[in-house]
Amino acid sequence: MSTFVASHGPTSTALRQLRRSRLALPGLVIVLVFVFGGVFAPLIAPYDPYKNDLMNVLMPPSAEHWFGTDELGRDLLSRVIYGARISLVEGLFSVALAMVIGVPIGIVSGYVGGRTDAVIMRTIDVLLAFPGVLLAIVIISILGPGLTNAIIAVAIYTVPIFARLARGATLTVKDEPYVEAARAAGLSGVRILWRHIFPNISATLFVMMTLRVAISILTAASLSFLGLGAQAPLPEWGAMLANSRNAMLIAPHVALFPGAATILLVFGLNLFQDGLRQVLDPKLQDR
C-alpha cells in the first residue's frame, strides 16, 4: 500500500484515505445535511418558526406538521430546521473566536519560550482550573444570559484548549530544519510564525477544530437549556427542550425532535472528526 500511496501528493492521499475511512464520509454527509438545512432554512421550513397557533398546541406529528406542534402551536419541524442554523452559528463562531485568540497565543508562547511562555501557561492553567462548563458559566454570570454572550462564553472556555495545542505543536516543529533555515535567512519572527510554523501545525488544529465545534454545540445547547444562553422564543434546540419540559410528559415529541437533532449533528461531527484524525495523524493509523 505504501508504494501505491507514495505516487500521489499528500492532499490526494488524504482524500483517498478519507474515502476509505468508513466513518468519516457518513459523518460528513450528516453534517452537510444540517449545514444545508441551516443555510436554506427560510426556503425549506414549511412554516414560520415563530408563528403561534393556540388552536393547535402540542399536536402529534401529522401530514400537515411532520414533527407536530409545540406548546404554543408552532410548527416543530420549522423550529428544528431554524435551530440547525443557530446551533451551527454557535459552534462555528465560538470555535473561530477561540482559535483567533488561542492559536496566536499558543504559537508565540511555544516559539518565544522563557518567561513569556511561563506567564502565559500559568494563566492558561488558571482558566483550566474551572472544571467543564464551569468557566463558561462564570463568564455568563459576568456578561449576563443571552445567545451572543453564550457564544463568547463558549469561545473563552475553548481558548485554553487551542492555546495549549498550538503551543505543543509549535514546540515540535520549531527546531525543524526548515524553521532554522528561515531564521538563518533573516526572516522576521512574525513571518516565520505565520508562513512556516502555522501551516505546519494547521492539520493538528483542523482536527481539533471539528472536535471542538461538536463540543461547543453541546455546551451552548446546555447553557441554553439552563436558561443562560439563547432565550425564548429563539428556536435553539437546548432552549426548546427547556421550554417544553413540562409539556414533554404529555407530548414527548416536543422534546424528542430537538434532542434527536442535536445528537445527530454532534454525532456526525464526531464521526467525521474520528475519520479525519486517522487520516491526518499518521501515528494513529494502525489503531
Binding site: 492553567d125 474551572f130 467543564g132 462548563v133 446546555s222 419540559r245 414533554m248 434532542g259 461531527l269 489503531r287
Partner: protein, 306 residues
C-alpha cells in the same frame, strides 16, 4: 516521591491564587457599579453609598482582594442576597450532595468504561469492538440534558420504575448517576482501548505469552496494569468534569446539589453564592488533579523519580 510531591504542591499554589483572583474580580467585571448591583434596583443613592462602605468597595482593589482571601480562608463568604443566610451554610450541604453524586458517577464510569475498553481491545476488529466505538461516539454526542430527560421519560413516566426527581431514597440516585456518567464511560473506554492496544504490542507481553502463560493472566497481570496510567489521568479529569457537568444533570433531576444552586444564583444575581460555589468547585478540581498526579506517581515510579 517527596520532591515530586512538593513540586506538584508548589505548582498548585499559583493556580489557586489565580482562581481566587479571578473569582474576586468577577464582581468587578460585571458591567456597572457593583455597589448599585448589590443594593438592588430600587435603592437610593444613600443606600448604594452605605453598601459601598459596608462591603469595603470604596477601598483600593488590592486591599479588597486581601480582605476577600482572608475571609474566604476562614469560610466567610458573606450572606446570600436571596436568603440572607451565611453563604457557607447555603453551599456546604449542596456541595456534599454534588460530591456524592459525582463519586457514584465516576465509579460507574470507571467500571463500565474499563470493562468495555479492555474487551474491545482484546477482541479487536470484532462486532464488539465496532459496537463499542459507535456507542462511545454516541455517548459523547449525547447532550446530558437530553439523556436525562429521555431516561426520565422512559423509566419514570412510561414504566414508572424510578422516581421523577429529588433525593429521598437510594432509587433517586440511579437516573442522575447514569446520566452524569455516560460521557465519562465513553471517554474512559476509548482511553483504556487505545492504551491497552499499545501495551499489547510491547516486548514484555510477547515474553509473557512466549513463556506459555495463560492469555487471561497475560492480559490482566502484564497488560492491563501497565495500561492503567493514562486511564487514571483521564478518570481523575473526568471526576473534575463531572463536578462541572453536574450543573446540567442536577437541573434536570432537581437534585439539591451545588451546580443547581449555582445556576439559580446566577439567574437571581446572588453573587456571594456564585463566587463561593465557583471557588469551591475550582479548588476541588485542582485538588483532584493533584491527587491524580500522586496516584500515577505511585503507579509508575519513573514519573515521581523525574
Amino acid at each position: 516521591m517527596l520532591p515530586f510531591l512538593s513540586t506538584r504542591l508548589l505548582q498548585a499554589i499559583p493556580v489557586l491564587f489565580g482562581v481566587s483572583l479571578a473569582v474576586f474580580l468577577m464582581i468587578h467585571l460585571i458591567p456597572g457599579d457593583p455597589a448599585a448591583l448589590i443594593a438592588g434596583a430600587d435603592a437610593t443613592r444613600a443606600d448604594v453609598e452605605n453598601v459601598r462602605h459596608a462591603l469595603g468597595l470604596d477601598r483600593p482593589l488590592p486591599a479588597q482582594y486581601a480582605a476577600f482571601v482572608g475571609k474566604a480562608l476562614t469560610g466567610d463568604f458573606g450572606n446570600s442576597f436571596r436568603t440572607g443566610r451565611p453563604v457557607l451554610d447555603e453551599i456546604m450541604p449542596r456541595y456534599a450532595n454534588t460530591v456524592v453524586l459525582g463519586a457514584i458517577a465516576v465509579a460507574i464510569a470507571i467500571l463500565i468504561g474499563m470493562a468495555s475498553g479492555i474487551v474491545s481491545a482484546v477482541r479487536r476488529h470484532t462486532i464488539f469492538d465496532n459496537a463499542a466505538l459507535l456507542l462511545s461516539l454516541a455517548g459523547v454526542s449525547m447532550p446530558t440534558f437530553f439523556l436525562g430527560l429521555l431516561l426520565m421519560l422512559i423509566f419514570s413516566v412510561w414504566l414508572g420504575w424510578l422516581p421523577l426527581s429529588g433525593k429521598d431514597t437510594w432509587l433517586h440516585y440511579i437516573l442522575p448517576a447514569i446520566t452524569l456518567s455516560t460521557a465519562s464511560i465513553a471517554i474512559i473506554s476509548r482511553v483504556m482501548h487505545a492504551s491497552l492496544i499499545e501495551v499489547l504490542s510491547e516486548d514484555y507481553v510477547r515474553t509473557a505469552r512466549a513463556k506459555g502463560q495463560r492469555e487471561a493472566l497475560v492480559i490482566w497481570r502484564h497488560a492491563v496494569r501497565n495500561a492503567l496510567i493514562p486511564v487514571v489521568t483521564v478518570a481523575g479529569l473526568q471526576l473534575g468534569y463531572l463536578l462541572g457537568g453536574a450543573v446540567v444533570t442536577e437541573t434536570v433531576f432537581a437534585w439539591p446539589g451545588l451546580g443547581r444552586l449555582l445556576v439559580q444564583s446566577i439567574l437571581a444575581r446572588d453573587f456571594p453564592v456564585v463566587q463561593a460555589s465557583v471557588l469551591l468547585l475550582a479548588t476541588t478540581f485542582v485538588v483532584i488533579n493533584l491527587l491524580t498526579d500522586l496516584i500515577y506517581g505511585l503507579l509508575d515510579p519513573r514519573i515521581s523519580a523525574r
